[in-house]
């Protein structure tokens, strides 16, 4: 009985490590106690959004209404998270009566040079959502 809570901690933290290795879950989140261990966190991760339609190809700033979905996807850029962002983008575009046939999401993160610390943005994953 007294091992239940510690066992739960080990199970969640081990899963977090597995998710960080398989789905790029940031070390800072997910219950693995990797906070303050790496620069790979929300400040240096992001998702770029491009919306396409027959006569349109436009890069979008992240609107406030989908900030939470984007933050979740940036922390763990798994298909499910990225699809949620794409669907939110489509819903928003339709609310504003703008055409949209495809949403392309690019998950990126920053690397810092070991010697000079100079940062560079590195695309890690591209997710294409064709609007059904």
């Amino acid at each position: 009985m007294k091992m239940l809570a510690p066992a739960l901690l080990v199970a969640v933290a081990s899963t977090q490590i597995a998710l960080s290795r398989t789905f790029d879950l940031t070390a800072w989140k997910g219950g693995g106690f990797g906070m303050f261990s790496t620069l790979d966190h929300a400040g240096y991760r992001g998702v770029d959004i491009v919306v396409d339609a027959p006569d349109r190809s436009e890069s979008l700033q992240v609107p406030a209404s989908i900030e939470l979905a984007v933050a979740r996807a940036a922390a763990c850029p798994a298909d499910r998270m990225l699809r949620a962002v794409a669907e939110a983008v489509v819903a928003r575009e339709r609310r504003y009566q703008r055409p949209v046939s495809r949403v392309t999401l690019t998950f990126w993160r920053a690397d810092f040079d070991r010697a000079t610390l100079r940062p560079s943005e590195r695309p890690v994953r591209t997710f294409v959502y064709d609007v059904p």
């Binding site: 739960l8 261990s37 070991r114």
Partner: protein, 320 residues
């Protein structure tokens, strides 16, 4: 419900009031007076501090936040609520809902809070609950620190080489004052370094990229922070997980208090500090009143760490 709490639970019996209990004075001529025992008092203090921590940092979406706050208030006002396994199970469940609601964005100490509330609920249902809680506290803290050290030393690519603190001291506004005060940066250098560390859009490159100015003291601070935090976290992990025959309980408390006393002076996560300190109290027995006071004092000190911009004030005073 009987309104009482803090005085009765934690602070009025032996160890907390300077005035001795009347019963002790009356018996002074007889055999050595024994102060009245109140079983589980250390656990009560641990639970009370946890409830206070819940109130100090309200959390969660609208459908759990008011309930967590309400239960925490009732726990502080009512000893029966404080000792209710059902109430602590409800807190653990609401914390789990809070984590699931915006997964994976919850901070790690929210997870630890959930395990801790669960452990309290279990301890309140079992005979010898104080021992169960002390055991859970040691293992939860020890394992959390094992994973923290694992991430820093083996899983992260940019911690041991110092990059994490070199960049964080320059770019994280919460560390800016400390970087200037201890690292010897001027405000102008800090602003220039922040500009130089700004991300450029993918593929973009400056013709003449600015260099990052890191005074020797700042590099030293970054390295001291890097290795200091590993040493402290490893010490806490070992102290908590090694058997009592290898590590005395006082070593465990010294390691935990040292970690909280130094880390939360800089780290802007007071909630984590309060939780660790409440869990530390959960390992005390009834005789360790002095340590209990130290833990409560440390809990209050962490409040001051979080609320007073000490580095900014020192910096301002230094500039005259």
């Amino acid at each position: 419900m009987r309104p009482v709490a803090l005085r009765e639970l934690a602070f009025s019996s032996h160890g907390w009031n300077s005035a001795p209990a009347p019963a002790v004075e009356l018996d002074a001529a007889g055999p050595e007076p024994q102060p009245a025992r109140s079983p589980g008092r250390a656990r009560d203090v641990a639970m009370c501090l946890t409830a206070i921590a819940l109130l100090l940092r309200p959390m969660g979406p609208w459908f759990v936040r008011p309930a967590i706050l309400a239960v925490a208030v009732l726990m502080i006002l009512s000893p029966s609520m404080l000792r209710s396994a059902l109430a602590w199970s409800a807190i653990a469940a609401m914390v789990a809902v809070r984590i699931a609601d915006d997964w994976p964005l919850a901070d790690n100490h929210i997870y630890l809070l959930g395990y801790w509330a669960f452990a309290i609920a279990l301890s309140l249902r079992t005979a010898g609950g104080e021992d169960t809680l002390a055991f859970s506290s040691r293992w939860l803290i020890g394992l959390a620190f094992v994973f923290a050290v694992l991430w820093k030393t083996m899983l992260s690519p940019d911690f041991l080489d110092g990059r994490f603190f070199r960049v964080t001291l320059l770019t994280d506004a919460r560390f800016g004052d400390a970087a200037q005060l201890i690292g010897g940066l001027s405000a102008e250098q800090l602003a220039a370094d922040r500009k130089a560390l700004q991300l450029l859009p993918e593929g973009a490159e400056l013709l003449d990229p600015p260099s990052i100015d890191e005074p020797a003291r700042l590099r030293l601070l970054a390295m001291a922070a890097t290795w200091g935090i590993i040493a402290l976290e490893a010490a806490v992990a070992l102290a908590m997980l090694l058997p009592a025959s290898a590590v005395g309980s006082s070593v465990r408390h010294v390691a935990l208090l040292l970690f909280c006393g130094t880390t939360y002076l800089f780290a802007p996560v007071a909630g984590f500090g309060w939780l660790l300190l409440a869990m530390g109290v959960g390992q005390l027995d009834e005789r360790q009143t002095a340590l209990r006071r130290v833990y409560v004092a440390a809990f209050i000190i962490v409040i001051f760490y979080g609320e007073i911009p000490w580095a900014g004030l020192a910096l301002g005073a230094g500039r005259g």
